[in-house]
């Protein structure tokens, strides 16, 4: 409070840098602005006329197929917009129970969906719409000759797994346990796409990811199917959320995902039928 004439400049500079420090502090999550406030006729004059934004929180592995379905939905219902928040299912579940404004949640495992249903944040009972099987992603040409899950335990091989809190990591652990294998990866990645990226950038030799991710990566990785993956097939549940800002359009989106047309897109991406 007292005005000191000989306050050193240094203090000010430190304060300035401290402000920068605060500004640049990392934000890990991607902010999908939920512009769903514009959903005007949720109570609707006619049920066929949908409008506004549908906000879908979906597992990272659904990125390609859901993006396609979102475009189809917008085409079929002019005036609507589908925005996605793709990420690790557990992160998404945590932000939904934390009050993030979302209409639909599509998770990569029943366990992560249970985080939401336990808090009674769902409006409809979750239904399984696809299943997904694990595969090993290796470098193009498979230079390390990986054919079985056991080959990943070779010393000197850099393998990344998803963290055990993420569905793909839980599934990988299940498959490893079922075959009595002990694998020490170089990293437990926070979601399936980060695990895949490490192989795409050739920083890791192999990653245990989903079949669908291998397919989506094209020729940047080579996929190896392994028999043990049958022990760890993930169910993908989808549900309408309780505080959905645009429930009508959200229901229509879920219907599209479960329709023959939607299932076609999903199976082309490598998903298994429910």
């Amino acid at each position: 409070m007292t005005r000191s004439a000989r306050r050193p400049r240094r203090t000010l500079q430190v304060a300035g840098v401290a402000a920068l420090l605060a500004l640049s502090a990392c934000s890990a999550s991607d902010d999908q602005s939920p512009a769903s406030a514009s959903a005007s006729d949720s109570s609707g004059s006619s049920p066929s006329k949908l409008s506004g934004t549908v906000t879908v929180f979906a597992a990272a592995s659904l990125k390609e197929s859901f993006t396609t379905l979102g475009t189809e939905f917008e085409k079929a219902h002019p005036g609507t917009k589908v925005t996605f928040n793709f990420g690790g299912s557990d992160t998404l579940a945590a932000s939904i129970t934390g009050g993030a404004p979302a209409d639909v949640f599509a998770a990569a495992s029943a366990k992560t969906m249970a985080i939401v249903t336990d808090k009674k944040d769902n409006a409809t009972t979750p239904v399984t719409f696809v299943r997904n099987q694990l595969a090993i992603a290796t470098l193009p040409g498979n230079p390390d000759k990986i054919a079985l899950l056991k080959d990943l335990t070779k010393s000197g091989l850099k393998v990344v797994l998803c963290d055990k809190t993420v569905p793909c990591g839980a599934a990988a652990q299940k498959a490893l346990d079922a075959s009595g294998l002990k694998l020490t990866p170089v990293s437990y990645e926070q979601d399936v796409k980060s695990a895949l990226t490490k192989v795409e950038l050739k920083e890791a030799d192999a990653a245990v990811v989903y079949k669908t991710d291998v397919r989506a990566a094209g020729d940047r990785v080579e996929g190896v199917d392994f028999p043990e993956s049958a022990d760890a097939v993930n169910d993908y549940p989808i549900a309408l959320l309780k505080d959905a800002p645009n429930a009508e359009a959200a229901k229509a989106f879920i219907a599209l995902v479960r329709s023959a047309e939607g299932q076609q897109v999903l199976s082309e991406a490598g998903f298994l039928k429910p």
């Binding site: 409070m1 401290a18 920083e203």
Partner: protein, 256 residues
Amino acid sequence: MPFALLLPALLGLAFLLLPLVALLVRAPWHSLPEQLTSPEVWQALRLSLVCATAATALSLVIGVPLAWLLARTDFPGRGLVRALVTLPLVLPPVVGGVALLLALGRNGVVGQWLDSWFGITLPFTTTGVILAETFVAMPFLVISVEGTLRAADPRYEEAATTLGASRFTAFRRVTLPLIAPGIAAGAVLAWARALGEFGATITFAGNFPGRTQTMPLAVYLALQSDPEAAIALSLVLLAVSIAVLAGLRDRWMTAS
């Protein structure tokens, strides 16, 4: 005291403190002892402290000379160089991590030579964590030291050189003691930034307990499975930061 300043000032203070207060209010105090005695927490905390300290040391060794270069010498394009030095401040840390992978990764621009010549690979190692933290934290030190250097009177150094000291001796014996408080302040900021580093670390060094899983990574992953554990971990990080900053503040950062 003008009310027009006081009101926003108090609002600003409240805005900064409220989230911290909320963390304390919602902390799982009853289960805190068992959360904090788990070996994973200490492992992550120790790794965080070691890496942040090493990153600060590395920043001092290469950052102080860089600050001197920017403050005391004149060369074409100096303004541009200074802007580039501060780039990591505005770059999203995750982008910084990807850039580090492209540069120093096993297949990176420089990293492929490190691998084929020396067999050194940096991603997924503790060294990788230190490098990621240095990349993000060093600009704070450079800016702080450069500012102090500019404010310091160059005539002392000039006097030393006219009396026969080499420029390096003058820097070591005259300039360094003169700007020591600025260096300390910069080092504290860099250390604090390194301690909280998340994005570049998880992208460049991955996440493996005991090797590359620092506290912020542990907090992020715990948040997904066990929010109470995450809050407990955050409290530890908060307590350590406050203790260190408060301790150093008394010594270095108060007005002399």
